[in-house]
């Protein structure tokens, strides 16, 4: 492609560059907006009225807006001996429970 300098008037290199830059930039913006809006539309269609995840500025509540549960009050049933144990004692219990089982076998 060959263009004379004269052909550029009344356009200037600067104004054409500005236009090209603007085209490049706006197509990136359009891409982001298009992805973000269609993602939201899909989410609205699949899960109507879905509440956004909770954000607690103080960092005290989780993504569902709940306070941290007391692990000591959560119980697990041991699959080895079928006893109910406090969740924060589970690892210590397994160590004893499993080795007892191994000795026996």
């Amino acid at each position: 492609m060959t263009l004379g300098r004269d052909a550029m008037t009344p356009l200037t290199v600067l104004s054409v560059s500005e236009t090209i830059y603007h085209n490049l930039l706006t197509s990136i913006v359009q891409d982001i907006v298009s992805r973000t809006t269609s993602r939201q539309q899909l989410q609205d269609a699949r899960y109507p009225g879905l509440a956004p995840l909770h954000h607690d500025q103080r960092g005290a509540l989780d993504v569902y807006g709940r306070p941290k549960p007391q692990e000591a009050s959560v119980y697990f049933r041991c699959p080895n001996c079928s006893r109910d144990l406090s969740a924060n004692r589970f690892a210590a219990h397994l160590e004893r429970c499993m080795s007892r089982g191994a000795r026996r076998g």
């Binding site: 060959t2 004379g4 090209i20 830059y21 706006t26 913006v29 907006v33 809006t37 939201q40």
Partner: protein, 99 residues
């Protein structure tokens, strides 16, 4: 539209086409996207888009774009804009000199 305006438009389209065919359009576009990602602009625009959807209570592409685009354009750092503009100008000067 005057004849001169029409000529200008045609020339602009011609330059754009040449930019695409020479592979330079993709090159510059990729570089711009990388710079925008590095400076956090991409995430800023995503956040702006989500906030706009929430504030205006719409997911309509055209409505959201109308609100987001001008602000997104103004959020680009001067460094990135200058760098990309330099590249485009250098490319244009190249074509103009090869006559």
């Amino acid at each position: 539209m005057t004849a001169k305006d029409k000529e200008a438009l045609e020339l602009r389209a011609q330059i754009q086409q040449h930019l695409v065919e020479s592979g330079n359009y993709e090159l510059i576009s990729n570089k711009l996207a990388q710079r925008l990602l590095d400076e956090g602009w991409i995430d800023q625009v995503k956040k702006l888009t989500r906030e706009t959807m929430q504030d205006d209570n719409t997911t309509n592409f055209s409505e959201v774009l109308k609100r987001v685009e001008p602000e997104a354009v103004s959020l680009v750092s001067a460094n990135t804009k200058n760098e990309i503009m330099q590249q485009i100008k250098a490319f244009l000067c190249d074509i103009l000199d090869t006559q």
